[in-house]
Symmetry: C2
Subunit: 408 residues, 2 copies
């Protein structure tokens, strides 16, 4: 049987998991549910049969995180493709198809977001396998999660009714009203769009040629001019000319041969703190404590803490408490999704919404420990073999104290 080449998309910013997830360190790179990050879990899920070499598409800002987290789990990628600017999924799919087609235009590609949780890997593989026949026959295959409630925040896929597992797609419906969502739930022919795509490289290139030729042209050029080094394949700046549009809008909605494979594998987009609470194992009071700090729940129910320091909750119900080095969030679980407005307001005043105090670099990371009047103290971690750029400052006096060393 033919292999599937997994292309993992790491583009999401995940601002709804603020203050943990930020633009410079979004949710897919955090250890949200266990000892591995969502990105690492995704990589593991896409290793072994029927999957072939792993490809990762990431943006400039997160490339070192990607390389570091891949190294951590000992899962090398065939290529880490770096986008010089964030576009959307249509250009990403185009790059994936162009790369795969170089070796084999008939290659099957699975485009998979890095920031979703899937609890049942076996069921996931079965779902992919069930879609492979249709994809080999030339279909663009999307994956549909059987809805367990009238969620209004997701995109829906309507399929033809019938008994076959993989069905023809009738239409996409983006974020329906509550009433419409309830109807969808009853009909049995509606699925949540999990954002996963399975297709043949040549078919995707045909579709792009037909529906988004300027994306195809820009991506082809950016790949031709790409710069390759031992770690990254960096697309050239013409990539920025590709329209930032989703694969759903640019291609999928217009494709004739569109199929939906059901994905019943414990899927969650972990799109909010309450979604994280939903998927976590809870104690007898429905509480979950994550993060490094010790947590005490006293007379508290249905709550989630994610704290880097000691955390005490007293007489609290259905609450989310997140504490990081520079911010605290306390939100009612049922309003955790409306965090965007508050973050905008914080963003207007400072960089808190964007950056963590620890900044990742190719050679390691640095973290601000203290900043005062005309001085600052940083902790710098240089990875074994890592190399900082040479710099000198005319109006700065630097004092370096080595507190630990390990040699490669």
């Amino acid at each position: 049987m033919r292999q599937v080449l997994p292309f993992i998309l790491c583009g999401g910013a995940g601002t709804r998991l603020w203050p943990l997830s930020r633009e410079d360190f979004p949710k897919q790179f955090h250890r949200l549910t266990g000892s591995e990050t969502l990105f690492q879990q995704t990589c593991r899920r896409l290793a072994g049969r029927p999957f072939g070499d792993l490809f990762v598409l990431t943006n400039h800002r997160h490339r070192f995180l990607v390389a570091e987290q891949l190294e951590e789990i000992g899962t090398p990628a065939k290529a880490i493709v770096v986008e010089p600017e964030v576009r959307n999924t249509a250009p990403a799919a185009c790059i994936a198809a162009l790369i795969a087609a170089k070796n084999d235009p008939e290659a099957l590609i699975l485009l998979a977001p890095a920031d979703h949780l899937i609890s049942d890997d076996t069921a996931f593989v079965s779902a992919v396998e069930s879609g492979m026949t249709a994809a080999e026959a030339g279909a663009l295959v999307v994956f549909g999660v059987p809805p367990d409630g009238p969620h209004t925040g997701y995109g829906y896929i309507e399929t033809e009714s019938g008994t076959s597992e993989v069905r023809k797609v009738i239409r996409f419906v983006e974020k329906p009203s509550k009433e419409a969502a309830k109807g969808f739930l009853d009909s049995g022919n509606f699925y949540w769009n999990a954002g996963l795509f399975l297709f043949k490289a040549a078919i995707m290139l045909d579709l792009l040629q037909a529906h988004a030729p300027e994306i195809l042209a820009a991506c082809r050029k950016s790949l031709d001019g790409a710069r390759e080094d031992p770690t990254f394949l960096t697309l050239d700046s013409s990539y920025a000319k590709a329209t930032a549009i989703s694969l759903d809008y640019a291609v999928a909605e217009k494709a004739q041969n569109l199929r939906c494979a059901p994905l019943d594998a414990g899927w969650s987009d972990v799109g909010s703190w309450s979604a994280l609470w939903n998927v976590m194992e809870k104690d007898q009071d429905g509480n979950v404590a994550r993060g490094e700090g010790e947590t005490v729940f006293q007379n508290t129910r249905g709550s989630l803490t994610f704290s880097d320091r000691a955390c005490v909750l007293i007489g609290v119900e259905n609450m989310v408490v997140v504490a990081t080095e520079d911010a605290v969030l306390v939100a009612s679980k049922d309003q955790a999704e409306s965090i965007k407005r508050a973050v905008e307001s914080i963003k207007a005043n400072c960089g808190l919404a964007l950056d963590h105090t620890r900044i990742h670099r190719p050679w390691g990371w640095y973290q601000m420990l203290e900043r005062g009047d005309r001085y600052q103290v940083k902790c710098i971690m240089v990875k074994p073999g890592g190399k900082l750029s040479l710099q000198s400052h005319r109006y700065r006096s630097e004092h370096w104290v080595v507190v630990g060393a390990r040699w490669k």
Copy 2:
């Protein structure tokens, strides 16, 4: 008219305002309600007529905080008396009486806790003045706050009924049942015990001689052996032999000539986070934000934040959120008083309940910035003219970087 010598008692630990207030830095030394600490507000309130020289009684652990905070507001004390061990208010009253009696056995003394809030200083002075006549006539005067609710956490004072302002005390009632407290409220002859005492030095010594002679003996000895330096008057170790008992139990309940002066001056013991919320000015949604961090209230009502970092509350009601460098508290306002149990549980596991990361010393303070494997980074602030003890370490390598200087 005779003067009143104020003796401020700084002994409280204020664990119910954890994680801000801790044993090493209790609530009276925090800027809870404004730009001055409760201790500083108390010192200001007890300056000017009818008050004479200021005396402060503090324990060993907090003596530098006392000296520093007095200096900050430019209010020197006649003496900062240091207890080598924490006792209770009876030994403190005894020390106050002994010190005052040295100059004048007829001197009037006001014993005042440093950790209470009084919003109306003029009314406070009037209350003290109203008690002075009785005290000069030989009475032990306590101050009673007209209760504004059936509070079960306070001690009550029952007085004779009548029209005179200062009335004879019938009895003390410690923490009554809800039902009893309701009855007290209706009777009109019950007051909350504000923990303030006004008396003549000689009268207190007589009372102690009669009811607690061993406290008098131990205190006399500790004062005879006291060590005086330019800043502190440190009692000698015999002070530890004085029974740790409150003035209420040891003397007041047994005194024949006991009077209660009403204190209607916006008194609060700030004994919990909800008590602090009560006394603070709130926005139109009933929210209060204190601390250095920016706070965003979104769809939030009746809540208090006290945070050293950015803080976002979403969809929250009647909640207290306190964030410090090493701990976060989220508590329903109506359960904020039951914090002790949670703090005990935290205490069992680490020092969080006791110490802040910033430690105050006579010469300034130091704060842990970072601690790792066999290294730590501290920020050290030496006050102008301050002097650290000379130390050398055989197995430690120290690197000092001076990042700022100011000379005395």
